[in-house]
Symmetry: C2
């Protein structure tokens, strides 16, 4: 970066740091309200069954129990079996192991749990669609029998990719959506290839594994309003969902974003509609805090994918053709996961010919949702496997092969949309110079893999406001939830744009009653869009403050500068006015200026995709199949690192999750669709014991629209991990795994294919 | 009014009506917080004494007591004996009957009260300054011995009147402030007068008698922030006071305005600084709710006044001279009450010559504060007595006498400032046509009195914001507390300015963390200034919405109109866009416009004084001295009645309080400065049994700056009552009382003077 900044582009401490390390931060489950009722759920133990009876007598006898409620008992507006928000409790039929059958509400959580355990549910088993092959068959059992409307919309809008897809006809009943992207002539492309690689990749259901489980509390105020305190990524999304579930007008629902202990795509409004409806129906405050078991059985984890890919290239490394068939198993609720994966799969390299068909299918598993860069790790695992295998087959340098074929600004994506300004080549070239690449070893049993990936980013209009307070500080309001330290960056942006030190910025996420509008924190768009609105609000406030100062100092606003919160006349030492002075002239009784209240907005129409390349050096124990990660490097174009430490923190977190997806994580669905476990005993995670030191390198190709050139940074770092590890295994062993997680048994199995 | 309005100028129901009549409205005392501690005060029983010992052992033994704290125990920042905010607890010396000696904090209110009763305080009595005569003597005991800074500033800024006063030299020690206004040559004026009337008027300490007592709750959040829920007129004022008392930066204090059950000038920050300091020191939530006894002994009622006035007039009714000496007894804390009363006294008629000297004195009584039009009922009681007696002596029609002499737009006030546009003559001329005046009877024992009065109004810059929500409603934020139904008028103003029905307006007073700045609700400036900011914000939002609509409908914004929340192309039926459509295009994922967020501000520099005349018809029982009010009429210039029913409600309330001041109310201080009672058994109030039907007539001379021409309406109606009743007694009996309240014994005493 050539610009000199005062506050941005610096690793300042997080504004929420102190309260988090001291334990003072308040999470939803910490909230105590007088008369608070606790809800606990009764979950289905069958993947597909008819409920033949629910006996609640014993449960209702538990002291403190207020009631046991089933789908018919909870007054929810706009009921729709296909919508988890509108009919969260199973009606007659359970569709997955973990489906909510009933909810118990009691004076204490213990009473509610005791009673939930006493609810006796009898089932008549029904045929189960447990895998993608069955889901794709025309005569498979239907996952939803009833007609439904399309279901939840917002939770799946995570990236801005365009239309440009063809419809696919004659779909099997459990295929809810299909898209086909085409370019050129794939047969001709394959015909001119010197190598064609064809593989089928499989990925598992993985959980976002936020430390804090789903938590929501709702309380009516007795005057027709409902307040919801919740752990969410999007307060306005929750407002809409709860207004829908209760039938209240939106302005009667106020949503307060509590601290969020991790979300990663999982926290849009999974439990709030039910909690809100219960509180409204009972006219008492109700809370529901998921257990870890609830999380594993009945949350909204990331769907499993199957990706069949054929790719061809010429000897000189020119790509010729890409054909892919992507199937996403979204579980028991309709969702759109596969199409985006298709754009991602075909969007990182220049394929003169391509045909990608993407199918979303339903099965008798829990509903799925986003997980940090949804569909992207799965797509990258597949396409980067192809690139690695083609390079190997053609004896090309894998990095040069990628540099030769990387997309550039203006290239069309599979959906036909042109890529805006990107820094893809720059991250690749950065790797070419890095010692972990230039000095890569060839020790036996070790290998180095690289994986290139991208995330399109998202856009949504946003507002912010910036008030000058009478102590000379500024108060910046946003409607976005801080799930990743974003408010620290927002404060830096405001400080820089207004011209005060960070210590004079009060950044606040406020409730939906008062907040300037912002969409959910997701899609790597928080800083890119709401941050732009913050910059705009701070600049507007600065302009107002300078106008006051100009009148008071009798100069033109252009002759003024702001340094550390003091306005001075350029070139006239001592001719100054502090922000506190300006505030007092615009706030006090008889003040002669309007108080400073900046209004900012953004409606960015050009995305700022983030490109990244990861390198992993691994050792593979050929006896046990165990893979150890020895070195790890992530190079990412972040536009402008508003707070480099935070950006690096995002990369460290994303890489760690990527390693989890690569090596350890899978929700343990049995072949019959039943869970074989629902605790962290059954779900392996990366830990400090097996995550290496993660090196990061930030590349900064400034975006045109983001604040100070910033781009979204949250999602790219989770994407390349599985591909990099798998390619390192290929380098070490000659075999490239095609299924994740690459657990020791799977690696051993793969090695047998040699 | 000639303009046609859709929403303003209509008597719509109050937005807070339903929650108030159903009991759902939450007042501060309704707030339940986990672990809430209750504070109760130990009050001095002497008006002036040295504390020789405080024995707390017994109190500390009461189960549930957390602690007993005296001035030395509470860590308050910036301690200052002269400031009630900075040293609310007596240090060594008590200065009034009711002075806070200690505060007990306990787990329950009952335990706190029991313990407070067990705190043993011993005193050594000191000489008492109990009346104004003693306070004005150079050798009287000093009410404050220690040097102090000037004390509380904001609570006394209730009207915008200018400087223009002379300093007065050589003041006695208990005179904290003196001002002299001069014009012309008063001796020459008296010399040319055909009649000179000289009287001394006396008024009593009166309590604002809000139904809801002073109440405040403060809670630390464990992360360095303090939240205050309080019954206040000014949330930002409380924020400042609590930041001062705790030493916290302002941005660490968040103040939430709860419902206010009456305030009338009493609720700026009387108890919040102590409650905040206790909560901060104990790091636990603390609440203090005054009892009625606390209110009578230890609140901040209106000061007593003594007004000596001489006025002269010629036979033809031309005024010649005014000389006045005003003394305000502000009690044990310094305050500025008298100067404003001086401007009010001399500001309603054209006095070619005047000299008004105003003294603020201290005494050993509780501290005083504002009470609805502070100083104005007292000033009007005096000057309207002069006008009545001069008219009677000169045998002039009292109304014509006033019409002849009323000030007009542009006339100088006693402080030299010119009067802005006023509607004084208009209200007088309206009375001239009214049957209660034209048909006034002359039955024995009955009389009709009139009293003319004015209130200058106040100004303070303010902001507001206006957000278009995705259901097409608008959310309007203000920082002003709704103490009088003002938010209903705000909603009407926003609806009118934006172009939607009232039902689509969500008006919200938000906490100081999020609120657009607004000063306290006082000085009759809320609608005039914050209302103007609301209109500005709604117009800005409308402009933004129309710009979106213009792009969508492919026309110029000028070609659009808004009717009932729908934008249409003028003259093109069916070419429409609802506000909901506009919202969806500016809020949704991928939306292409900035969300609509209007920013409004006002910094009005011209006041809009409110003039009013009241007429009372009374009967006087010459046997008992009892005065009954038979008819009552209030005519007031309100600029534009945003909500006529609310304006009339304000007038009804103000008149009733004026009748209380006239006939019943006096805090029962004995001659020794001790209270002879501290309950409503000892403080008479007007009730439905003795308040007549109040007729109102609204005159509308639109202001230039107020929203839709509105002026402040809250304060004028309390002003003329005492003068009107006294003048009616004069009409009935020939004697004009000079002391209020005009209780039967006082009226009998006055009649003896005949």
């Amino acid at each position: 970066m050539v610009t000199t900044f005062s506050t941005v582009h610096k690793s300042v401490p997080r504004v929420d740091g102190e309260r988090k390390v001291t334990g003072a931060a308040k999470y939803t489950a910490d909230l105590q309200l007088p008369g608070l009722l606790h809800a606990r759920l009764v979950l289905s133990t069958y993947p597909h069954a008819r409920i033949t009876s629910i006996v609640r007598d014993a449960a209702e006898q538990v002291p403190g129990v207020v009631g046991v409620y089933t789908a018919g008992d909870v007054e929810m507006n706009g009921r729709d079996n296909g919508s988890r928000n509108r009919r969260p409790l199973a009606k007659d039929i359970v569709r997955f192991d973990g489906h909510w059958v009933a909810v118990v509400v009691a004076e204490t959580e213990a009473a509610a749990q005791d009673a939930a355990d006493l609810v006796e549910v009898e089932y008549e088993e029904l045929p189960v669609v447990a895998d993608m092959d069955l889901a794709m068959q025309h005569d498979s059992p239907r996952v939803i029998l009833e007609d439904t409307s399309s279901g939840d919309d917002e939770a799946f809008a995570h990236a801005s990719v365009g239309g440009g897809a063809e419809a696919v006809e004659n779909l099997p009943p459990n295929v809810t959506n299909a898209k086909r992207y085409r370019r050129g002539n794939i047969e001709a492309g394959f015909a001119e290839a010197d190598v064609v690689i064809e593989r089928t990749y499989r990925t598992s259901w993985v959980h976002q594994l936020h430390l804090e489980p789903q938590s929501s509390t709702a309380a009516p105020d007795g005057a027709g309003n409902l307040t919801v305190w919740t752990s969410t990524q999007g307060a306005f999304s929750v407002r809409n969902s709860v207004a829908t579930s209760t039938g209240l007008p939106q302005h009667r629902v106020n949503v307060i974003s509590m601290e969020v202990g991790g979300a990663f795509g999982a926290k849009y409004a999974l439990i709030d509609p039910l909690v809100g409806a219960l509180a409204w129906q009972l006219q008492r405050p109700v809370t529901l805090v998921y257990s870890r078991g609830d999380e594993m059985r009945s949350a909204n984890p990331a769907p499993a994918f199957e990706v069949q890919v054929s790719t061809g290239a010429k000897k000189d490394g020119t790509l010729t053709s890409l054909k892919a068939r992507i199937v996403a198993d979204n579980g028991a609720y309709s969702a759109e996961s596969a199409g985006l994966a298709g754009v991602l799969l075909g969007g990182s390299y220049r394929w003169p010919n391509l045909e990608i068909t993407a199918y979303d299918v339903m099965s008798h598993k829990t509903g799925s949702s986003a997980y940090r860069a949804p569909g992207a790790p799965q797509a990258a695992f597949a396409i980067e496997g192809q690139m690695a295998e083609m390079a190997r087959a053609l004896d090309l340098d894998p990095l040069e092969f990628r540099i030769k074929n990387t997309v550039e600004t203006g290239d069309p994506l599979p959906d036909g949309e042109p890529l805006p300004l990107i820094g893809g080549r720059q991250v690749l070239e950065k790797l070419a110079e890095h010692p972990l690449w230039t000095n890569r070893s060839n020790k036996p049993g070790e290998g180095v893999g690289i994986s290139y990936a991208w995330w399109p980013g998202a856009m949504q209009p946003a507002n912010s406001s910036c008030r000058l307070d009478d102590d000379g500080s500024i108060t910046v309001l946003v409607g976005s939830t801080d799930i990743s330290g974003s408010n620290t960056s927002m404060a830096q942006i405001a400080a820089e744009a207004f011209g005060v030190p960070m210590s004079m910025v009060n950044i606040r996420t406020v409730d939906t009653n008062a907040a300037p509008f912002a969409g959910p924190s997701g899609g790597s768009k928080t800083i890119y869009t709401t941050g732009a609105a913050v910059a705009s609000a701070a600049r507007d406030a600065r302009r107002q403050a300078l106008e006051i100062a100009a009148q008071e100092l009798e100069v033109a606003p252009e002759d003024l500068e702001v340094v550390d919160g003091t306005v001075s006349v350029k070139g006239v030492p001592g001719r100054t006015l502090s922000m506190r002075d300006i505030a007092s002239k615009s706030i006090g009784w008889g003040g002669s200026y309007e108080p400073v209240l900046g209004r900012g907005g953004s409606s960015i129409s050009t995305a700022a995709p983030g490109f990244t390349i990861h390198l992993a050096r691994v050792s593979v124990d050929e006896e046990t199949g165990k893979v150890d990660v020895l070195d790890y490097l992530a190079i990412q174009d972040v536009g402008c690192a508003i707070n480099p430490a935070e950006v690096e923190g995002q990369i460290h977190g994303g890489v760690t999750q990527g390693l989890g997806i690569a090596l350890y994580e899978a929700i343990p669905y049995g072949e019959d669709g039943r869970l074989v476990g629902s605790s962290l005993m059954d779900y392996a995670l990366p830990t400090t014991g097996n995550v290496p030191v993660i090196q990061t390198l930030l590349v900064e190709v400034p975006s045109a629209d983001g604040p100070f050139g910033a781009k979204g940074v949250g999602e790219p770092p989770i994407i390349p991990g599985a591909g990099a590890i798998a390619n390192a295994i290929l380098d070490a062993t000659g075999v490239r795994p095609v299924s994740i997680p690459m657990t020791p048994p799977r690696v051993l199995e793969a090695l047998k294919q040699r």
